[in-house]
């Protein structure tokens, strides 16, 4: 589901089921031409659909981070902490194709070119959830 699908009453009733937050990251630098931006964003959209469709009842997609910036690592750590305080157990970063994250960050999972396949991506998320169950 997307964050826009929730109002206060739906959230009050169902928040216990949605424990995974997805942050889309376009990684734009400003050097991209408009067609390149379209290509990157449609690639990102496709990756998001690999997660949003099969895991619709457990995953919520939040607004995207569009541009890369200094202090990405610090900011995302701050963001992850805040998301956990709202009740999310897992925070996943979904990166646009060919965008590389060089900084260390505390996401539970990063979907990028290394897991650029629908089945692989699904399996990584299932593993993340299974790991949590086995840790209980």
């Amino acid at each position: 589901m997307k964050f826009t699908d929730f109002n206060q009453s739906i959230w009050n009733e169902t928040s216990a089921y949605y424990d995974t937050c997805v942050i889309p990251y376009s990684g734009l630098t400003g050097n991209e031409t408009p067609p390149r931006v379209v290509q990157l964003l449609s690639g990102l959209k496709e990756r998001l659909e690999w997660i949003e469709v099969p895991f619709k009842g457990r995953v919520i997609t939040y607004p995207a981070l569009q541009y890369c910036f200094e202090g990405f690592s610090e900011f995302t750590n701050y963001l992850i902490n805040n998301l956990r305080s709202v009740g999310f157990k897992f925070v996943i970063l979904v990166v646009a194709p060919s965008v590389i994250i060089k900084q260390e960050c505390a996401f539970d999972l990063v979907i990028d070119d290394r897991n650029d396949d629908s089945a692989k991506c699904k399996e990584e998320i299932l593993q993340l959830w299974r790991k949590d169950v086995s840790n209980l």
Binding site: T14, Y17, V53, P54, F55, K56, G57, R58
Partner: protein, 180 residues
């Protein structure tokens, strides 16, 4: 005396007839107003009708789509992906759908929708357990789609048509297999 009354009556009738008559100005106003309104309606009504036409059209049942051959099906469900043409108002799209198909013991073909009836995740068939399982919150269904755990309802079905050994799938309908 009676003559005087008759004269007074005539005068009154003449006055009321005079009141009912329409003036030239009124006649022109009414006639031009009616003609103008008629012409404006003649132009604007077809334009409005054209603009909202897709909304007024009755939603047609999705056509049946050929998805596989009956000979490829067994009693164990298999996952089939197929595309349908969808028209929603002005938007036309070709979304990909998933169905789990199997043949029952009597040879009837059944197709289940994989959308979990709990919160809408996509269920998978686990052949070792002979059950559908939802990866999100552990809902379980029999191979006929009957809800066993977590979900409040059985999995929906696709309407199925078999013709010349080919399987065609149509619209999604509520599960009738589990009520047999």
């Amino acid at each position: 005396m009676s003559d005087g009354i008759a004269k007074g009556h005539d005068q009154h009738t003449e006055q009321s007839n005079h009141k009912k008559e329409m003036s030239r100005r009124q006649f022109l106003t009414y006639t031009l107003g009616a003609t103008g309104g008629f012409l404006a309606a003649g132009i604007t009504i077809p334009m409005i009708r054209f603009a909202v036409d897709p909304l007024l059209e009755k939603g047609e049942a999705t056509d049946f789509v050929k998805v596989t051959e009956v000979s490829k099906l067994t009693t164990t469900p298999i996952e089939i992906r197929f595309q349908v043409n969808q028209v929603d108002g002005w938007v036309e799209s070709n979304p990909e759908l998933i169905a789990w198909l199997r043949k029952d013991e009597a040879g009837n073909v059944t197709a289940l929708s994989p959308v979990c009836k709990h919160l809408g995740c996509t269920v998978n068939f686990v052949s070792t357990d002979n059950k559908y399982e939802c990866p999100c919150h552990g809902a379980q269904y029999t191979n006929e789609g009957k809800n066993l755990k977590v979900a409040p309802l059985p999995l929906d079905e696709y309407s199925v048509k078999v013709d010349n050994g080919s399987v065609y799938l149509g619209q999604i309908i509520p599960n009738h297999l589990t009520s047999k």
